[in-house]
Amino acid sequence: MDFDWSYTVTAMPILLNGLEFTISIAVFGIALGFILGVLAGLSRCSHNKILYHIAGIYIGIIRGTPLMVQAIYLYFAIPVMLDFNLPVLPAGILAIGLNSGAYIAEIVRGAIQSVDLGQYEAGTCLGLSKFQIYWGIVFPQAFRLMLPSLGNQFIISLKDTSILTVIGATEMTHQAMKAVSASFKTVEVYTALALMYLLLCTLLSMILKRVEGNMKL
């Protein structure tokens, strides 16, 4: 079989059209997911029963349904139910944010609970308040503990943006599919697409490694 591999290079600029969309959704989605994840994760560690259960329901729903269904539901079903118009970019950000938030919540909860009990006791025995113990002693250590899994989740979410093609987000995968239907160069274009994701994820994991290294104890 003959492939026109030069088209792989030619296809790159077409994909770059979708890069901005991909990155916007990933960056804002992950940021939203981080905030939601910290809040839900803290709620899962809280003695407040209401917060604990709200976070539990949220995590249960997200983990119990596929991202693709969540995206479709957010973009098509909810606007119909509530009678409003949700543009595709915010819908994509919300989908990635809500989805990654649930997984990040579990990462946050796990990290906080694995900080040694002796650290709380040492803080208590010095007369520190609960707030001072959590902010000054527990969270900084929990953050270091959660970095590897957090990085992993960031990479998963970055790749998950490709699923948003189903709601018509004009991100990279969408652009690639469009390019294929125009040129029929399936192998060349999808190779370019895979390489683009590989490049993005490699970059992100290099940045994460760096942060992890700097924060090592």
């Binding site: 002796g118 006791e121 040492a122 025995c125 010095l126 007369g127 520190l128 000054g136 250590q141 104890l217």
Partner: protein, 244 residues
């Protein structure tokens, strides 16, 4: 006789059906050094942890400076500022430098100006022989050094009483001496101390009151040298002969 600073009366503690402390009584006077010894599982550490309410006693009273602390609305944070604790596993804050470990609580609680707190921390570090280690991270120190930092950290709050929970049990044998030396210095300076320990040399030579516990009871107590030489209780005699 010196002033009574801490008094434990009829203290009991159980976890479910398991009674770990039964009718414990103890008086601590200013400047006194009390050693608590006994076999593992005898309740020594639980007893110590009840004193600063890390464990909640089931019954009995603990009075600090003539105020009952384990009932009603006693200000626990004030109590913790005045009763310091040194742990078996040091429990230093691994993400802070040695100096920050010592200054963190005093600065958060604003017990003095920032400058004074840091000056005092450096002074305490030289006292425990670690002046050069101020900017190190705890994980770069040996166990003995970490425990000496932990002692300096507790001292930075200027506590009235210092509790030690098996402070040398997690250390390599050759590092035990440096920690005991610091503790002996504190004792000589008049610090009031309650020490749960397996170091019989310290219990005999440094402390002025000895408590032997077994099965949650205080089986025997009194002058350390007297008990080491002539234990009255059979179990005390057995224990001492097996550890000495």
């Amino acid at each position: 006789m010196k002033d009574l600073i801490l008094s434990v009366k009829n203290l009991s503690k159980s976890y479910g059906d398991l009674e770990v402390l039964k009718d414990i009584n103890m008086d601590v006077r200013e400047g006194e050094v009390i050693s608590v010894i006994g076999p593992s599982g005898s309740g020594k550490s639980t007893f110590l942890r009840c004193i600063n309410l890390l464990e909640e006693p089931n019954s009995g009273t603990i009075s600090y400076q003539n105020e009952v602390i384990n009932q009603g609305k006693y200000n626990r944070r004030k109590l913790h500022r005045e009763i310091g604790m040194v742990f078996q596993k040091f429990n230093l804050f691994p993400h802070m430098t040695v100096l920050k470990n010592i200054t963190y609580a005093p600065q958060k609680l604003k017990i003095a100006s920032k400058k004074e707190i840091e000056a005092k921390a450096r002074e305490l570090l030289s006292k425990v022989g670690l002046a050069m280690k101020a900017d190190e991270m705890p994980n770069n120190l040996s166990g003995g050094q970490q425990q000496r930092v932990a002692i300096a950290r507790a001292l930075a709050m200027s506590p009235k009483i210092l509790l030690f929970d098996e402070p040398t049990s997690a250390l390599d044998p050759e590092l035990v001496g440096e920690v005991l030396k610091v503790m002996k210095t504190l004792a000589d300076e008049g610090m009031t101390m309650v020490v749960v320990t397996h170091e019989m040399g310290f219990a005999r030579e440094v402390s002025n009151h000895l408590i032997f516990m077994e099965n949650g009871y205080i089986v025997e107590e009194g002058d350390p040298k007297e008990i080491f030489a002539h234990p009255k209780n059979e179990r005390t005699a057995q224990f001492l002969s097996s550890v000495l």
